[in-house]
Structures are given as structure tokens and as C-alpha cells.
Amino acid sequence: MIPASFDYLAPTSVDEALAALAEHGDDAKVLAGGQSLLPILRMRLNAPETVVDLGRIEALRGIRDGGDHIAIGSMTAYSDIVASDLVREHAALLVKAVETVADPQIRHRGTVGGAIVHADPAGDVGAPILALDATMVIAGSGGERTVPATEFFRDLFETAVEDGELLTEIRIPKHTGWGAAYEKFVRVAHQWSIVAVAATVRVEGGSIAEAKVGLTNMGNTPLRASAVEQALVGSSADALADACGAAAEGTNPPSDLNGDADYRRHLATVLTRRAVQKAMEG
């Protein structure tokens, strides 16, 4: 299987990329790491006239310390996030989630920004980004704007990035000293999450002072388990089950061959308890 023919543009700056998108509009598709897009093109689920490859824009790669936050360029590869001491120290939850994505080869090419804008609800990056209260930086012809993660994911494969815009950076407030865990339920290796739970907690004196919980594949977008977060405050490790029972509240999980919606709701409560427990251990 090979993709349908397309014209290929490889801009070397964000401005050049934006100009290319302005010129080609709906006929253009943005290529980040390509680990989701190339299978789509090969299976001919999409056949854009023009592909705009961001791979030559060095300014979109890298991780820097922004003071109260860490800033991750949208074209930073998964494997660079896993290898980053800065991310591990201040946003451990993202590392825990990203190291479960697909397999090593995919993690070498796939990018955090590509995954977020692709917005597959079974993808593993949305839930931690949402749980960590990240802010997205979006560039367009009118300049730059920022969108909080809570307003970023709109629907299946749909985000706040409009036509002609690019996600350039993800800013994550520092969660230094927070424990984190990502519990991913799959049937076989290197597959999409049936359900996954991203949990990060700040522990004080053996009980939870603050908790943030994100859910993967429990609806059309990544979701926050807000009821659980509130219920967990003050909990100790041996009294988590009650608080985690509300994990599926307000969710609308899909039914498919891997499990129906009720099964997913059950999984969400179990995985939330496990994730919070692990997060409390570090």
C-alpha cells in the first residue's frame, strides 16, 4: 500500500509553514512525525493534495525550562521526552504516559504535538496533558495565542487548532515532587489503550493533598475525573477505593470489540485506584 500522490513542502520556519497552509488551505495536511498520518495516507483514508512537513523546523523541537513551567516544542519526539530529566523532574506524569506509547521505533519518530493535534481519544498524550493543566501555544497568521488544555480538545480528532494554524509549544506548569502513574489497559503489546488513567498526586504526611486524574478513551476527548480529584483530598493509601469509585462519572465511553461502555466504566474505576496508589508511592 502506498499513499496517493501529493505535493510535498518542507518549510524551515513556522512563518514559512503558515504561509504554505494559507496558500493551500483545506487541500493541505500537516505532517509532524507521521506515525499516525502515514498509516492513514497508506490506507487512503485521506488523500491530501499537499503535505506540509514540519520536520525541518528546528525551532519546534526541544524542551526548555520556562521558570514556573516547562516548555516542550510541538515537534519533540516521544523518545526525547522519555529521556528528558527536566520533564521527569517536573512533569513525571507525561513521561509515564509517553513511555507506554506504541513501541520504541514509533517513539523515535512520533511527536507529542502531532499526537495532541491528531487528538485520537485512545492516544496516550491527551490525558496527562489535561491532568497537568498544560497550556497550548498556537501560531496563526494573526500571531500567537494560548489555549488551556481544558478548552483544547473539542471532539473526536478535533482540537482548538483551526485551519491555517499550527501548535508550536506545550507549556506544563511544574509539578515538582508530585508522584505519578499511568495505568494502561491493553490486550496485547504496543496497542491503543482500551482505557488508561493518568494520575498525579502531591502527598503530605501520608495522605493526598492534591490529586489530578486524566482519563484516556472514556469519551470523544480526553477527560478529567474531577469528582475523583476532589474525593481523594485527604485520603491515605489504604482508603482510595471509595474515592476512585466515581472515576467514570460524567464519561461517555465507546463500545467496540474490545469492550462495551459498561466494561470501560468498570475499568476506569479499577485503573484509577491502581494509578493513584502507584502515584502515591512515587
Binding site: 510535498y8 502515514l38 523515535h108
Partner: protein
Amino acid sequence: MTRINVTVDGVSNADDVEPRMLLVHYLREVVGKVGTVVGCDTSNCGACTVHLDGRSVKSCNVLAVQADGHEVTTIEGLATNGELHPMQTAFHENHALQCGYCTPGMIMQAVDLLRENPDPTEEEIRVGLEGNLCRCTGYHNIVKAVAAAAGSMSSERSNA
């Protein structure tokens, strides 16, 4: 057509390719590196794994134009001066193949695994190879071979 310059197994190549051409097809059909195989064609099986700038990638999931200006190493470029790479020797000595179709990808991924983790546990080997499928299910000897290669490569380093 787009002009690309790609160094493959140490040799520089300049070719005009269609932008839609996959790296694996470029390697096999234009450069002639048929040691790299197409397995599943869905980016699951890992048989087409090569190194792009020293990191393992599935070459059916990369466009040839994305490799422009970069370096590719295939299974054919692993041996030096007629001497097999220690990973190739270990696969040979441990009978780490049955039909052999997954072998080029397995070896390339195993080399990448040891680059990141020179002394992996058995579990780390299995997880590190999770993107490579052996349809003969011959994983046992593959894992043994990778462990053996880790041992021989570490004693080579300490003798050096």
C-alpha cells in the same frame, strides 16, 4: 519528483523520488538494499526496521523525502570489513530465527535496544522488542541471542 540526498550504509545517494515513496521502497527498489524487508505494511510488525541517524524507525512509516539529508543504516550495513556485527553472530549462534523474515528488523531493533540499555534484563529485552513480531513465535531464542550479544559486546568494550 523531489531530489533527495540520503547516505545509506555509508554511501551517499542522490535520487529523484515521488514524495509519496516510502523509505522502505526507496531502500529496496532505488538503492537496492533488499536486506530490509516489507512485512505487514501497516507499521505493526517491525520487519522493515532500519536506523535513521542512529535511531531505529519502521521504514514503512517514513517517507523517503523525510530522510533527505540524513543517514540510514540497514541490516546490510551492520557488518564491518566482512565481520558480522556481534548481534548478527549472536542470532546465528543462538538459532534466533526460524523462517528468518523478521530477522533484519529484529537485529536492527536489538542493536538500538543495546545502544540505549547495554545490559538489559530479560524483561527489558522483551519490552524493547515489543514493536517487532515473529510470526514463527521464535521469541525465546531471539531474547537469548540479544542477551548473548549484550554479554559479548560488553566484554569487547572492557577489552578495548
